[in-house]
């Protein structure tokens, strides 16, 4: 790294830890809202990798990709939370274990 004084592997490790915590939230939590928060954490971990490598290469292109990731995360949050509201209206729960109508 140029003048930050932090090796690239530490930036990538931060991203790996955030991704793992987000994945843990997605697979273990039952509240659909917290599951969504886990997804947001994973998307942010991806952005950290993009910006870390962008800094290492001195390339602006990864900033554009990270910008798209933020836009997609906003769209995903809007539609996902609307789905949670719709499910809550018909089932009166946001517990993902009880929402199993599509289970075969």
């Amino acid at each position: 790294m140029s003048d930050l004084g932090v090796p690239l592997s530490h930036i990538l490790s931060l991203s790996a830890i955030l991704f793992s915590v987000g994945l843990f939230a997605v697979v273990t939590r039952r509240n659909a809202l917290v599951v969504f928060m886990g997804v947001e954490l994973m998307l942010n971990a991806a952005n950290v990798v993009f910006l870390g490598f962008a800094r290492a290469f001195g390339d602006n292109a990864a900033h554009a990709i990270a910008f798209f990731v933020i836009a997609v995360a906003a769209a995903e949050a809007a539609v996902g939370l609307a789905i949670i509201i719709a499910v809550f209206r018909s089932r009166n729960t946001v517990n993902v274990d009880e929402i199993d109508a599509l289970k075969f």
Binding site: V21, F24, N47, F57, A61, F67, I70, A78, A82
Partner: protein, 164 residues
């Protein structure tokens, strides 16, 4: 030196608060600690000279998305949390798996040879530099994203509305 210390401070903050996002019983506490995670990551983006992305992180993530989460939590008025804090075998297995994933990723990252230090151009990470590349090389994805956001707005209204 100060930049490196700030990086480790923001990184430790983000990791600690992301663990609290997972551990908190109350979704409001999860959402509030998510704000701090996003602000810590914005600090890291600023340290990486990604000025535009740091600003967008604060505005879009810490501002808009978490407010949306809080609105939905309040709207649903979930009351008392129903999840019990117990360690099931599944949770233990999931925890071991993600720790293993993290360790495996660290082994891979440690193998990476340090890249040659590149000098940053004058417009690196600024609104001008990123905007220039967004409207030249990435103009088609940029327009696609605008369409995606339009579809998301309409879709959110259609899905969440009781009667159309």
């Amino acid at each position: 030196m100060i930049a490196a210390a700030a990086f480790y401070f923001f990184g430790a903050l983000a990791i600690a608060l992301s663990l609290y996002v997972v551990a908190a019983k109350n979704p409001v506490h999860s959402a509030m600690s998510l704000v701090v995670v996003f602000l810590g990551l914005a600090g890291i983006y600023a340290l990486l000279s990604a000025h535009l992305l740091a600003a967008l992180q604060v505005i879009v993530y810490a501002g808009a998305i978490v407010v949306l989460f809080l609105f939905v939590i309040m709207l649903l008025s979930l009351g008392e949390p129903t999840e019990r804090a117990r360690i099931s075998p599944f949770k233990a297995l999931a925890g071991l798996s993600v720790v293993g994933l993290c360790g495996g990723l660290y082994v891979v990252f440690d193998e990476l040879t340090p890249l040659a230090t590149s000098t940053l151009s004058q417009d690196y990470g600024t609104v001008e530099g990123v905007g220039r590349i967004l409207f030249s090389q990435f103009v088609v994805p940029f327009e696609a994203v605008s369409l995606l956001l339009l579809v998301a707005i309409v879709g959110a209204v259609v899905v969440a509305k009781a009667k159309i």
